[in-house]
């Protein structure tokens, strides 16, 4: 398995020979940037070609093309043509650039076409995958991957990442995970899963109350608040190794937030007698205090460049979101509507801050431009919707919702479309937090 993975990484490095047509900036105009989910781009993904006499290859081809459709559908950018309407026989058509009959695809409404071929050689599967623009009649992405059949998901994700990059200019979220809280065991513990809710594993076993997980930007550490040692204390825990540190200060330690690109985090501590937000090293040592205002200052979240930090403060009498500028030291109020705006989460794209607002006893999710302006409401009349967390490309938002009675984790696009439940687990799930893309876990 290790050998295979190594081989696979080598394959990625050496065999990822881009076929012609490198991606260029002028190709990013496929998606309406203001709302790419308003009009989804129709795409056709015929089953990948494989030698009819090789059942292993056929199975891999079928599984890979289905997985690709599933992953690409998850982005919310595309609709998929019904295979029954195809004018071409997927197993007979030419999958390379030269032989594509584009008009057979535009005729059924597909503006994008993915073709693939699978060959099994020495037990490894070799995939040849391409993305075509059927309107402009040209290839946008061409990649060749080799790996064991265990690496199928990885291959599909790599290619999806290429497709999304070609279409939107951003790498997507296919190498990301989600951390969340579930009380299914009788205690609130932290669980991890893949971006699509699959492969759920339990991360903490404190038999206590654990809350507010947050991923470091290399994806290797999760900081969270726990009552495991009386508490509420912040524990900074390695995702894979048995390494952890605590912040050696008395009092409350709430809701940590890692600084993008640095081994540093911000958190609200009350050891001085008043809650203030501090900047800390990744080992839990205080670097400096960031806020200075009597009363509640909590829930920091960083702009992607690490220069600004949004947070919740009660300094005006009720909880509102403020932005702290690390250079000028100035603090400016961001939210003015309503009397209860909390849970800010700054998009990794930088352009929006998602947060939740309590109005008439119900909590709903909004986004707002960090420089101010009108908030946009994303959830409505569907129970309480809390704790928005952006995907690493800023295209999706994970959140918790009580629309089905109990609190569960849901996902929607940045514009509030395509709301769907992410996973099924006993108990209630809350506080989702998306990881960055983790390429070398």
């Amino acid at each position: 398995m290790i050998r295979h993975r190594l081989l696979f990484v080598l394959t990625l490095l050496l065999l990822l020979i881009p076929l012609p047509w490198p991606v260029a900036a002028e190709q990013y105009n496929y998606i309406d940037i203001s709302n790419p989910f308003l009009r989804k781009t129709p795409m056709a993904v015929p089953m990948f070609k494989a030698a009819a006499h090789d059942p292993t290859a056929m199975a891999a081809a079928k599984a890979a093309s289905e997985l690709l459709v599933y992953y690409l559908d998850f982005t919310g950018y595309f609709t998929f043509s019904d295979p029954a309407a195809f004018l071409e026989d997927p197993q007979k058509m030419d999958i390379t650039g030269s032989g594509i009959r584009y008009r057979n695809w535009t005729a059924i409404g597909a503006e994008l076409l993915v073709t693939g071929g699978v060959v099994i050689r020495d037990g490894d599967a070799e995939f040849e995958l391409r993305l075509f623009d059927t309107v402009k009649e040209k290839m946008m992405v061409g990649k060749r991957y080799r790996g064991s059949s265990d690496d199928l998901r990885q291959v599909a994700r790599r290619f999806c990442s290429e497709v999304v990059f070609a279409i939107t200019g951003s790498r997507g979220f296919f190498d990301s995970k989600i951390a969340f809280i579930s009380n299914g065991s009788g205690h609130k513990e932290i669980y991890l899963c893949e971006f699509d809710g699959s492969n759920i594993s339990r991360f903490t076993r404190h038999n206590s109350i654990s809350l507010f997980p947050d991923w470091s930007s290399d994806g290797r550490w999760i900081a969270y608040t726990t009552y495991a040692d009386k508490g509420p204390k912040i524990r900074i825990q390695h995702v894979r190794e048995k390494r952890a540190s605590w912040i050696n200060k008395p009092g409350l330690q709430a809701a940590p937030s890692w600084v993008p690109g640095r081994f540093e985090l911000a958190a609200s501590l009350s050891f001085s007698g008043d809650q203030e937000i501090y900047l800390l090293t990744g080992n839990g040592k205080i670097i400096k205090r960031l806020t200075s205002s009597v009363g509640i200052d909590v829930e920091p979240t960083w702009s992607p460049d690490g220069k600004r930090m949004a947070f919740v403060s009660k300094r005006s009498g009720n909880p509102q979101i403020y932005i702290y500028d690390t250079f000028t030291g100035r603090v400016q109020r961001l939210t003015f509507e309503g009397r209860y705006n909390t849970q800010p989460n700054w998009s990794p794209k930088g352009d929006r801050i998602a947060y939740s607002a309590l109005r008439n006893g119900v909590i709903d999710i909004f986004t707002i431009n960090p420089d101010g302006g009108e908030p946009i409401q994303l959830t409505e009349n569907q129970g309480s919707n809390e704790a928005p967390a952006w995907s690493p490309d800023g295209s999706l938002i994970a959140f918790s919702s009580t629309r089905g009675g109990k609190s569960r984790i849901y996902v929607m696009t940045a514009y509030g479309t395509d709301q769907r439940r992410l996973l099924t687990l006993p108990g209630e799930q809350t506080n989702p937090k998306w990881s960055p893309n983790i390429l070398n876990p």
């Binding site: 909590v298 909880p319 309590l358």
Partner: protein, 198 residues
């Protein structure tokens, strides 16, 4: 026949003789001491009486002592009970808050004054003040708000002269509601500062 008579006679005579002897002996002993013995007897009786009286007195004393002891015990038990009740009241009566505030209203302040009195009369008792919130609102903010509630209760007690080192605070935010209901009555019960012995 003759033997029968002898046996009969013997049966009659021997007890008679025995009777006479014992009578005679008694008369011999008691006759000369008649006057003397009555005086001694009287003295003995007096002594006996005195002794009885003394025993009675001691018994009464003992009973009185026991009664006093019992009363004392009852009193101690009553005090103990009062103390226990005071402690229970101290531990069970929560300070309540309005939504999204850590401000102490009149009722909360009156209750905290009672708690301060208890803390003053129990100088060895150290207390943890737990701050709680209702389920409305969001959990990180509620964690912060719970701490403010516990801290404002502590600050009030410290202002009344309680040593701050005897009081520690912890916030549970919205994690430990006492009433799971989703109405104002339940929420009002959950917005509280509770007191726990350290």
């Amino acid at each position: 026949m003759k033997r029968k008579w002898i046996i009969l006679a013997m049966l009659l005579v021997i007890p008679a003789m025995l009777f006479t002897v014992s009578c005679a002996k008694k008369a011999v002993v008691s006759e000369p001491a008649t006057t003397d013995t009555t005086a001694a007897d009287e003295a003995a009786r007096q002594a006996e009486l005195e002794k009885q009286k003394e025993i009675e007195r001691q018994k009464q004393l003992e009973e009185e002592r026991l009664a006093a002891e019992r009363a004392e015990q009852l009193k101690a038990e009553a005090i103990e009970r009062d103390l226990m009740m005071a402690e229970n009241r101290f531990l069970s009566e929560n300070v309540y808050f309005d939504f999204d505030t850590a401000t102490l209203d009149y009722q909360a302040q009156e209750l905290l004054k009672q708690k301060a009195m208890w803390l003053q009369s129990n100088p060895d008792a150290n207390t943890v003040i737990e701050g709680h919130c209702d389920e409305r609102g969001t959990n990180a903010y509620n964690l912060a708000l719970g701490e403010r509630r516990a801290e404002s209760a502590k600050a009030f007690l410290v202002n009344l002269g309680i040593d701050g080192s005897r009081l520690t605070t912890i916030s549970y935010g919205e994690e430990k509601p006492v009433d799971m209901g989703q109405n104002e009555e339940a929420w009002a019960k959950n917005r509280r500062a509770g007191f726990v012995k350290e």
